[in-house]
C-alpha cells in the first residue's frame, strides 16, 4: 500500500474530536487589555476590564470542567481529502564522481604530510628572502629583520636603538632562525592537512585567505608578543612576506602527488541509520 490515506469508505463515517470554538479567550484578552488601558485612561475602564476578566475565566473553566468544550468534527467529503501520494515518475540520479557526499569519504585523496613539511620549508625560505630584500631596500641592512624577530625572546633588545638593531648578533641569528623555522614548519603542516578539505582552489585558500588570517593574527598579537617588532615593523612589507610564504607553501603542497585517504567504509546499516 502506497497511499497515506486509507481508501475512502464513504463520507462522514469517521470523525475527530476537537475543541469547540469559544469566545472566552477573546473576552479574557479584552479584559486584560482593558484592565491595562484603565491605568492610562480611567479607572472605570480597568474595573470593566477586571469584571470581564473574571467572567471570561469563569466561562473558560466551566467549559473545561464540563467537557462541553469539545465537538466531533466528521471527516470532510472525499473530494476535499488529500489525494494519496503516488510514487514520483522522476528518477533519482546516482552520485557522480567528484560529487562530495555521505556515500564517500571526502576528500578521497589527501596530500602526504611530507608535502606539508616541504611546503613549510620552501615557504619559510621564500619569506626569509623577502625579509632580507626588505632589509636591503629599507636601508636597515640584512640583519635588521632577523633581529626584530629575535626580539620576541631576547628581551634585552627592547632597550636597543634602531641603529643597534641593525648590527649583526649571533644570538639573534640563532634565535630568529629557530623561531622562523619552527613556525614555518608548523604552518606548512597545517596547510598540508587542511588544504585538501577545502573546496577546489587550494591557491585561493593557501595564498590569500591563509596569509590574511595569519597577518591579522600577528597584527593582533604583536603588541603583546613582540613590542620591539611592533614599534618598528613595516606592515606593508610584513604583509607581502606573508603572502610570499602562503603562495610558496600552497604551491608546493598543491602540486604534491595525492595519496588515497583511508578506504571508503562500506555503508553499514548502523552507520546509516545514525544519519537519519
Amino acid at each position: 500500500m502506497n497511499s497515506a490515506a486509507p481508501p475512502p469508505s464513504g463520507p462522514h463515517e469517521e470523525s475527530v474530536s476537537l475543541p469547540a470554538p469559544t469566545p472566552w479567550p477573546l473576552l479574557l484578552a479584552a479584559g486584560i487589555t482593558l484592565a491595562a488601558a484603565g491605568l492610562v485612561t480611567n479607572w472605570v475602564v480597568s474595573g470593566v476590564g477586571i469584571m470581564l476578566l473574571v467572567v471570561a475565566l469563569a466561562g473558560w473553566i466551566r467549559e473545561l470542567v464540563s467537557h462541553r468544550g469539545e465537538i466531533e468534527i466528521p471527516w470532510v467529503e472525499p473530494e476535499l481529502r488529500a489525494a494519496p501520494i503516488k510514487p514520483a515518475a522522476a528518477r533519482v540520479e546516482a552520485l557522480r564522481p567528484g560529487m562530495p557526499g555521505h556515500r564517500m569519504r571526502v576528500p578521497e585523496k589527501v596530500h602526504p604530510y611530507s608535502a606539508g613539511v616541504r611546503g613549510g620549508l620552501v615557504g619559510g625560505a621564500a619569506m626569509a628572502a623577502t625579509a632580507l630584500l626588505y632589509g636591503l631596500i629599507s636601508g636597515h641592512g640584512i640583519w635588521y629583520p632577523i633581529n626584530l624577530l629575535a626580539a620576541m625572546i631576547l628581551t634585552n633588545f627592547a632597550d636597543k636603538s634602531t641603529v643597534e638593531l641593525e648590527q649583526f648578533s649571533l644570538a639573534a641569528l640563532g634565535v630568529g632562525t629557530v623561531i622562523h623555522g619552527l613556525t614555518s614548519l608548523a604552518v606548512g603542516l597545517c596547510y598540508g592537512i587542511i588544504l585538501p578539505t577545502l573546496p577546489r582552489w587550494p591557491m585561493l585558500w593557501g595564498g590569500l585567505v591563509g596569509p590574511l588570517l595569519w597577518t591579522g593574527a600577528t597584527y593582533g598579537f604583536m603588541g603583546i608578543l613582540n613590542p620591539v617588532m611592533n614599534a618598528r615593523v613595516e606592515w606593508s612589507w610584513f604583509f607581502v612576506s606573508q603572502f610570499v610564504f602562503g603562495i610558496a607553501t600552497g604551491m608546493v603542497v598543491a602540486r604534491s602527488e595525492k595519496v588515497p585517504a583511508e578506504r571508503p567504509v562500506p555503508r553499514s546499516r548502523v552507520s546509516h541509520e545514525r544519519r537519519y
Binding site: M1, N2, A4, S17, L18, P19, V65, S66
Partner: protein
C-alpha cells in the same frame, strides 16, 4: 509497497493513542515551561534587588526595619502549606475526595494566613516605619519583589479556591486530576520562590 506495511502494529497502536490532542504529558510540559518563565521573571527581580542592596542614599535600611521573626513565622506558614497540599494531592490520587477537599482548604487557609502576615508586615512598615515604595531604593525593590511574590500567592489561593469549589460540587472527580496536579506544582514553585526571597531579603540582605 513498503510504507504502510512497515508501520508495524505497535506503532499503529501508539498512533491511535497519541495522535491528536491531549497526549498525556502536554499539560505537564506546558506547566514546566511556564514555571521556567516565572523563574526567569523572579530571577530578574532578585537581580534588581541585589543590584540596589545597600545603595539607598536615605534610610531606612533593611537591617533597621525588617523583622526576621515575623518573616520567619510567615515562612513556616507558607512551607507548611506545601506539606498540606501534598497531603491533599495524595488523598486525591487515592480517591479520597473528602480528605483532598479538607487538605485543600487547610492549604488555602495557610496561604491566606501568609498573605495576612505580609499585609500586616507592610502596614507596620508603611505606617510605623514610614517606608513606602517611593521612600528609597530599598522600599522600591522590597515592595516590588515581595509584592510580586504575594501576587503569585494570591493567584495560587484563587486557583485552589476554584479547585475546592469544583471538588465540593463534584465537578471534579477524584483520582488523579491533571488540574489539581498542576496547581500543586505551581504552589510548590511559589513556595520555592519564597525561600529564595526570604534568604535574599531577610537573611542575606539584612
Amino acid at each position: 509497497m513498503n510504507a504502510g506495511s512497515l508501520a508495524n502494529r505497535s506503532e499503529r497502536r501508539r498512533a491511535a493513542a497519541e495522535f491528536g490532542l491531549g497526549a498525556h504529558d502536554a499539560p505537564r510540559i506546558g506547566m514546566l515551561a511556564f514555571l521556567c518563565s516565572e523563574a526567569a521573571f523572579f530571577a530578574t527581580l532578585i537581580i534588581a534587588y541585589l543590584t540596589y542592596l545597600g545603595q539607598a542614599d536615605v534610610g531606612p535600611t533593611p537591617g533597621e526595619i525588617l523583622s526576621l521573626g515575623l518573616a520567619g513565622a510567615n515562612t513556616v506558614v507558607l512551607l507548611s502549606s506545601s506539606v498540606t497540599l501534598w497531603w491533599a494531592s495524595q488523598a486525591m490520587t487515592a480517591g479520597r475526595t473528602r480528605s483532598a477537599c479538607s487538605g485543600l482548604i487547610v492549604t488555602i487557609l495557610l496561604g491566606s494566613l501568609f498573605l495576612a502576615g505580609t499585609a500586616y508586615e507592610w502596614r507596620e512598615l508603611i505606617d510605623a516605619r514610614g517606608l513606602t515604595i517611593s521612600t528609597n531604593l530599598f522600599g522600591t525593590t522590597y515592595y516590588t519583589l515581595v509584592g510580586c511574590h504575594a501576587f503569585h500567592v494570591t493567584l495560587g489561593v484563587l486557583a485552589m479556591l476554584v479547585l475546592a469549589g469544583l471538588l465540593a460540587s463534584r465537578a471534579l472527580s477524584a483520582g488523579a486530576s491533571r488540574g489539581f496536579e498542576l496547581v500543586e506544582w505551581y504552589w510548590h514553585f511559589v513556595d520555592g520562590v519564597w525561600i529564595a526571597v526570604f534568604l535574599v531579603v531577610y537573611v542575606w540582605g539584612r
